[in-house]
Assembly symmetry: C2
Homo-oligomer: 109 residues x 2
DNA sequence: TTGAAATATCACACTTTGTGTGATATTTTT
DNA sequence: AAAAATATCACACAAAGTGTGATATTTCAA
């Protein structure tokens, strides 16, 4: 099913919103809220150069356009795909968002 | 209305998907696709230290948790909010996604 | 109210991501 | 065949981002 594919993340997003509501209503403590987030957000998996290139091609965009989405220079995308440089913290998070939710998740203009 | 608030970005996302479909069917050229993306993605607005802090507090999370979402160190978030350092390309993109779509847009575990 | 735990501010040395320019090669379009 | 878009490659450089560790402040539970 198509809906099942995104079920897990949708459920988590809904849960997080519920937690916020509970916290604002004073039903749960900040600490509980914190620990909930921590358990949800842990690891941001690394991506190999090949995976990055495959990800970009899956979305049918060129390196310059991919760079535009990520707000980095086009040369950096090239470097990632050839293994010359590795995406840092925020870039890795973006790439994983794209991997799981698609490029459209970034379309917010 | 609640739906109107997100209308613009939702419409863009839907449009982008349609464009992809049209391109795969050979109806439109790659060039048209490229120019479409370029026009959608242009500027990623800067955020002042105050805006970053306000954004984080709007989402009811601490600096360490916010850092977890962005996949950066907690000290860096502190530096951003005090104006000691400024978020770079990918981090800025993430912050703007959070600003427009909320922290949940990043929840993908 | 006392004390522990979570947060936030600050310093500092260090790494390397990310930028910018410019050149060349390859591919894609017209 | 020419033109335009892409992709690979080489540098020098700025500054983003890391990690440790210390201190102050706030928050919360006992």
């Amino acid at each position: 099913m198509k809906t099942n594919k995104k079920y897990k993340s949708d459920a988590l997003a809904a849960l997080h919103e519920s937690m916020e509501g509970l916290h604002r209503s004073g039903v749960i403590t900040k600490k509980t809220m914190r620990e909930f987030d921590r358990s949800c957000l842990e690891d941001v998996p690394d991506l190999t150069p090949e995976e990055i290139k495959a990800l970009r091609e899956r979305e049918y965009v060129s390196q310059p356009i991919f760079a535009l989405y990520l707000n980095v220079s086009k040369n950096l995308v090239s470097d990632w795909e050839r293994g010359v440089k590795k995406p840092g913290g925020p870039a890795l998070r973006l790439l994983n968002i794209i991997k799981k939710q698609g490029l459209d998740a970034i379309l917010s203009g």
